[in-house]
């Protein structure tokens, strides 16, 4: 399983996203190194199809696929938790579900 965390320094959520992701991988018994990819400019954001920080991809698939037409740019990504709240992080259960699908 390949696991990537794409992040941008202008958004403070990536350390928490990494800690959550690594915790869930441990809990699910998955041994995978998380490749950290820093996105540094808009050109790289477009090239990497980066919809915002943080973005987690497992085997190349975004765990929360962005909407069609969403721009690729240096921004903080807006997630919705399962109870409907706005959040700078994906819902941990969405992360867990993606890990289980790929395992």
């Amino acid at each position: 399983m390949t696991v990537e965390l794409l992040w941008w320094d202008g958004c403070p959520s990536h350390p928490e996203a990494l800690a959550e992701l690594e915790r869930i991988l441990r809990e699910e018994g998955v041994e995978a190194d998380v490749a950290r990819v820093e996105i540094e400019d808009d050109e790289q954001a477009r090239r990497e199809h980066f919809p915002g920080s943080p973005t987690i991809r497992i085997d190349g698939e975004d765990i929360v696929p962005p909407g069609e037409g969403d721009p690729f740019s240096l921004t903080c990504r807006v997630y919705r938790t399962r109870d409907g709240r706005f959040s700078p992080l994906p819902d941990p259960e969405d992360v867990r579900a993606a890990v289980r699908r790929a395992a």
Binding site: G10, C11, P12, S13, S73, T75, C76, R77, V78, Y79, R85, F86, S87, P88, L89
Partner: protein, 168 residues
């Protein structure tokens, strides 16, 4: 950039309907925006505080560069205000001069100003954007102290959120 105890900068900015608003303490100035998940996560808590303190002026100010972040354009602000139940005016700081004068760093970034126009609190609304039950506790503590004529016990916290998107 202002420090605790300094006089807050004068400001006059238009809201989404074009009406101008000037600072009149006691007041809460919140730099915020449309596209940042931290600002969105804290928005309802700040809006609730605005309803709970009707004698305090609350001003939400969007300072972001809309050329790079179209979701923060005046039109997008207007659509949001029409769609949602806002308890405070949403002001457009197109020149970013007000944000620079305050030294705003993030969205959100909260400033509490007393009746004499002096800054008494600056920072985050409460300790955790993920916990709505905290109910903007740091902001409310500061307001309660200011309105009671007391010292604010915790005058500064680290603002947490997306960086203000300055023009390049």
């Amino acid at each position: 950039m202002i420090a605790i105890g300094d006089r807050a900068p004068d400001l006059t900015l238009p809201d989404t309907a074009g009406q101008e608003h000037s600072l009149a303490g006691p007041a809460v100035v919140v730099f915020t925006c449309n596209h940042c998940p931290y600002a969105l996560a804290w928005h309802d808590r700040i809006a609730d505080a605005a309803r709970d303190y009707p004698n305090v002026q609350f001003l939400a100010i969007n300072p972001n560069d809309a050329a790079r972040y179209p979701g923060d354009s005046l039109e997008a602000m207007r659509e949001r205000v029409e769609r949602e139940d806002w308890s405070m005016p949403y002001l457009h700081d197109e020149s970013q001069e007000v944000a620079r004068a305050f030294g705003a760093k993030t969205t959100p970034d909260v400033f509490v100003i007393d009746a004499e126009g002096r800054l008494r609190y600056r920072g985050a609304p409460d300790p955790d954007h993920q916990d709505p039950s905290l109910n903007a506790s740091w902001l409310r503590e500061a307001l309660d102290a200011v309105l009671a004529g007391e010292e604010v016990a915790r005058p500064e916290t680290d603002p947490v959120g997306c960086s203000v998107k300055w023009r390049q």
